[in-house]
Subunit: 227 residues, 4 copies
Amino acid sequence: MASIKYPLILINFKAYSQSSGKKAVELAKVAEKVSKDTGITIAVAPQLTDLALVASQVEIPVFSQHVDAVDPGSRTGHVTLEAVRDAGAIGTMLNHSERRVRADEVDVVVKKAEKLGLVTVVCANTPEVTAAMAALGPDMVAIEPPELIGTGIPVSKAKPEVVLNSVKLVKKVNPSVKVLCGAGITTGDDVAAAIKLGTVGVLLASGVVKAKDWEKAIRDLVAPLLK
Amino acid sequence: MASIKYPLILINFKAYSQSSGKKAVELAKVAEKVSKDTGITIAVAPQLTDLALVASQVEIPVFSQHVDAVDPGSRTGHVTLEAVRDAGAIGTMLNHSERRVRADEVDVVVKKAEKLGLVTVVCANTPEVTAAMAALGPDMVAIEPPELIGTGIPVSKAKPEVVLNSVKLVKKVNPSVKVLCGAGITTGDDVAAAIKLGTVGVLLASGVVKAKDWEKAIRDLVAPLLK
Amino acid sequence: MASIKYPLILINFKAYSQSSGKKAVELAKVAEKVSKDTGITIAVAPQLTDLALVASQVEIPVFSQHVDAVDPGSRTGHVTLEAVRDAGAIGTMLNHSERRVRADEVDVVVKKAEKLGLVTVVCANTPEVTAAMAALGPDMVAIEPPELIGTGIPVSKAKPEVVLNSVKLVKKVNPSVKVLCGAGITTGDDVAAAIKLGTVGVLLASGVVKAKDWEKAIRDLVAPLLK
Amino acid sequence: MASIKYPLILINFKAYSQSSGKKAVELAKVAEKVSKDTGITIAVAPQLTDLALVASQVEIPVFSQHVDAVDPGSRTGHVTLEAVRDAGAIGTMLNHSERRVRADEVDVVVKKAEKLGLVTVVCANTPEVTAAMAALGPDMVAIEPPELIGTGIPVSKAKPEVVLNSVKLVKKVNPSVKVLCGAGITTGDDVAAAIKLGTVGVLLASGVVKAKDWEKAIRDLVAPLLK
């Protein structure tokens, strides 16, 4: 079964043009290089269309950005967990604020991912929804207040109570579920603050993808984890 | 700008396990081989997750099975037309019966695909919906009665009036739009029947993907087009 | 079978608090009064929850704001055409920019409404989508550029080419379908301009619902139709 | 603030033709009569289109079958909590297996309903999803295994472990949330079994709606609650 060594830095490539197609492979290789140099787990979530290509080129964990709660077969334009596995990915994100799904779909995906040995990261927009997602038993939940996504204002500093409250509720509902936080994460300081709040790492996107120097941006993120 | 030489055989890999991951590349290479041998255009539509990988391995036209009507940027788990292009695909299918979208979304995608030089194949389930989709000006529409999909009972023989009526309505609404037909297509005879009804080719899936001998199945499909 | 006498003023109550619950009945009665006084057809589309109540209180045509493409039976939280009929409404709007549906759903609803003797008004956001909806054969299509909705800037004056182009395309695709226009309609002048562009009337909401004096606002709208 | 006296029998009219339009009022009056005679709380959830009409005719609690997570304003074809309140209903069902919504939507509706003094009943299909919904803090959750809905095979007898497990998980996650159960409930025995499993009542539909004698069916349901 796939497993992740924490802490974790998960870089979501979103649908940014800066990380699309061949540039997805380039960015993933930079992340791989920093991960190998530092020993810190850095995972990437490229666009759906780039998933198998990226996973064939790097050895760090690759996540799908989304998966549909359906089985293989006569289905067009869907992403199955089996396709994610066949593409060489380690698991999938789900329910990101930009691609929300229903709780019963998360339930189906989480139960099936466990059987297939895939890792699940279920996103949520409030502490209450984070607790609800934790009740479904994924490997990780990721609390991301949507109003901070892409702003560069880190949730771990601007709204620490949202992260703390999420960690507290998850501990009560399902203590085996790990918590990531995201939204506005850009620097190593933001990562350090996230860890202090009880998370096992961060989910971020523009802070790396839009950086002029990808390697420098990623090295800055992992720096506080090396001390 | 991308262009397609007709007649066209478009093989939809759907979410079948037989054509997932590395097997998607294998099947695409078989299609490429038959296309090179015969000069007939054979295109493939692998799973979303396999798109860039397959497109990097073959020279025949590769289509996405679906695209979202959104632009690149801060979007997670979506498929943009730009991602389809960056993946090396020639265009996209849209509105398949297994992944239907709204007419205004088809409108956005068709207008944008034209600007990007990508080819659009918009599916429809009835002659009236086929006419509606043709009014939006894609390169092709594909009429597929959902009740015949995956049955092996070819629409071109079992319901020729559905295909004929679609061709007639499209000619009236927007004569520059070409018509494919699909659902139950398995043999060269089915393809020949489709062409006689006024289509420029066929869209099929299980007839090839589930065949024991992919090459034999594809060669049988193109045979009547060589005479 | 239900039929509508043209020209038509269709007032969409939307989810405005000003026209919710008992106020929906009040507004409908004002519309009924002006209609009886002037002989002009004025129809109302109250909130879904108010449909049967409003229809039981007035004799002018009442439309549903939306309907689902499903049959009666074991379905929760849906609106069937049969429910619309049983509520006493004459028909339904569909595919409003604020509640868009897929083309195949419009196809199902239009075909079924014809059997049930209900009137259909299918909205569209561009001339091309208007043509697509006309291909499906509803009683009316309504072109409403979403960027003008609720602005008070009337489509019939600000973007006459959008209305003209829609009328032209509909005439080509399906000349039996009548055209309404909407978005920004507030005054009798806007209505007069709409009629001159080839429409049979208007669809409006805030111009009446948010008016301080409902009767004055509606009388102003119908005035140019009396000359 | 609205409050409910338990135990509760909640009758969902669904989109059944037997309980549509005027027949919705008739059925609600029968439920009201039995409730007055016995002192047991019997609530009804008519079709959306019948909501205000039914609520204006009876004094028992009336629920909406669904609500959208949106505010009043320029929105067409949606059901707001304010519309539910203005219609005279006491609250709303949400997330029924036949009309599922996302967890973040449940979160918005539950928080807003509390402010408006409306009662929420959130449905769920598995014990895990029931726990997730309880984490969002509604007044009630209703566990309904979808495979038993409409079968006449009562969940409280056929799958008691599903109900028990749901009750146990809800007690852990959020003990202030009450639990209903549904699916296949038809008789007083089924209700008695449900209460013994730790629920405060039942949610049912066809067992009453399709009964030849509505009053007899409802009297049978409440009988064990009178002892």
